[in-house]
């Protein structure tokens, strides 16, 4: 098991669990990163953070600090 923040660009993973109870983590789930969803990491911003992912057919950006709370395999 890994975190979404460890995934390299162009790799596709499946979400196992979204942890944390902050409103930001809740927003991340509402934007479509939920259990069982396929997420592709598209790229990492030029300064190393945030990351861009493709989820449910659109592009979403989130920071590594939040991505690290998304368990994937």
């Amino acid at each position: 098991m890994k975190n979404l923040s460890d995934i390299r660009p162009d790799e596709t993973v499946i979400v196992i669990k979204v942890s944390g109870e902050s409103s930001t983590m809740r927003r991340i789930m509402e934007m479509g990163i939920t259990k069982g969803t396929a997420v592709t990491v598209k790229k990492i911003a030029p300064l190393g953070d945030p990351i861009e992912v493709t989820v449910r057919g659109y592009e979403l950006t989130l920071r590594k600090s939040e991505a690290s709370q998304v368990l994937v395999h």
Binding site: K17, V18, E21, S22, S23, T24, R26, R27, I28, M29, E30, M31, G32, T34, K35, G36, T37, K43, I44, A45, P46, L47, G48, D49, P50, E52, R56, G57, Y58, E59, L60, T61, L62, R63, E66
Partner: protein
Amino acid sequence: MKRTIALVGNPNSGKTSIFNELTGSTQYVGNWPGVTIEKKEGTLRKNKHIKLVDLPGVYSLSPYSPEEIVTRDYLVSKEVDLIVNIVDGTNLERNLYLTSQLMETGTPVIIALNMIDAVKRSGASIDSDKLSLLLGMPVIETSAVKGTGLENLVNTIADEHVTASKQFEYSPEVESALSGITALLPDAIAQHARRWHAIKLFERDQNVLIRMQLSDEVKNKIEHIIATTEASLDDTSEGIITNDRYFAISNIVSQCSIQAKIQGKLTSSDKIDKVVTNRWIAIPIFFVVMWGIYYIAIQGIGELTIGWMEWLFADFIGANIRLLLESAGTSAWLTNLVVEGLIGGVGSVLSFVPQMMILFFFLSLMEDSGYMARVAFIMDRVFRKFGLSGKSFIPMLIGTGCSVPAIMASRTIENLRDRRMTVMLVPFIPCGAKLPVFALLTASFFSGSAWVASSMYLIGIIMVIISGIVLKRTKAFAGESAPFVMELPSYHMPRIKQVAIHMWERSKMFIKKAGTIIALASVLIWIAQSIDWTFASADPSQSILASVGKILAPLFVPLGFGTWQATVAIITGLMAKETVVSTLQIVLGTNGADIIGLHDVFSPLSAYAFMIFILLAAPCIAAIGATYNEMKSKRWTFAAVLFQTSVAYIMALFVFQFGSLLIR
């Protein structure tokens, strides 16, 4: 009977275009009570008995941002007879998430499946009849850009037989928890709203919980139900229900849509993106783009149009009105008041309008094409260092033109704390109106050296950063750092109509301010500098304005510019920053283009301290007004102005005192 229809949809779903098409020119734009969120209303073009309300673009109905709270409260307020949910067909799953929450409210919903042309072009397809069947609500295919399907949409809206849609069935665990909670609800809650309240209580929604005023016994029972469900599914209640909603949606989407599967082939959006967010050249590209925009807007066309506008107001309108008034036998004093005070004052502000419109044109172009979102993506890392997010960068960028639209642009920031901080810090960025002040003093004291003006940008940016770090440590701004979860919309060719509307809406408000507050302030200041306390006409140095300046001047002695002339310039600068220049001209007297007494009032060091003070102190009235509009609180507005002025005072003091030591 008048019916009320609410338009709801995700940001970028084309909601505003559909609203404009449906209502034509019958719109009314106001604010939601108590918040700074725009409320747009209109009546249906073909049926004046149907009122349309355009709600803010939101991703969900959770109380995450002020926009979502407004939308949600309005939708459950019984005022709405029907919800028209604009769904972006190219992004079906995520858009249907909001739909699932709309269905829960118990209000009838119809779907406008928008951008259907783009769906077909991409090679995908959506069976809208099947979607309608599965969701249990009418689904109308539309394309706001092409204007198709709108008539069909209007007919469906006018049909009064649309009933509340069916509800998704969630997992057995959730359904049993919901029926347990529903049984505990007070009888006062209407039948159609019971499920919504049960779901909100299950999500532990504090807004709803407080409003319902349940007894402690009921609260404990509900909490027990939630905790049991959470334990059996090993997740938070919010997580459980979000998963369930998406599960139901994926199920429906897989039954009625065929995704375009083009493996390995890059769309043109991807190709553009590969270049502009490239690891190595993204930041250089961004600076080149910005430099280009400023070169064209401020240097190129800007210089030209400022000349024209000055000619228009001074030599054409001003001169002709003077002739007209003189031939009508108006007293010299009144003539001067109208020509120099009113037309001169308003003109000096309006002369920036063309330049600003060009700037806004480019900024709107960046926004509409999708590039602006990438800029926030690229710059987020820098901004989070001092507690803000990449989203704050956009207002700062607009602030280099004018703080007023920049402060308004802070609305895209969901988090209220970040929004407030951005509004407070944007005026530190040197706006277009401060440039003439820097130009005047740099030419006079530093032989026009370019580093002096550049240093103002640098000081402005540094003050934004330091203030961000310091404010983050205060109670009002403490807490987790600004979140950054943002959709990156696909690039597309900017629609000229959209860009033009955007540009005009931003400029309009600037012009409106010039015609109202600035006109009034110009007249008052002109009167104050032309009469003394006996109301007899007087030399500027004996005027009411001068005597006020003399009272306040000692405040600025430690800063090196404690003269009444400089003080008066600071006061009039509140009206509009460029009036600092015209005030110095009036009170010191001019010889051609030169201001005669400038060197009597300032030394090079105090001139520099003065520039810093002008840069950082309370912005102009228009910007303070915009601050109030966004903060919707006198206390916060006062705090912002006090903070800015204190920072300005401390910085100018520091520079002058340390500078004096060094020079000695």
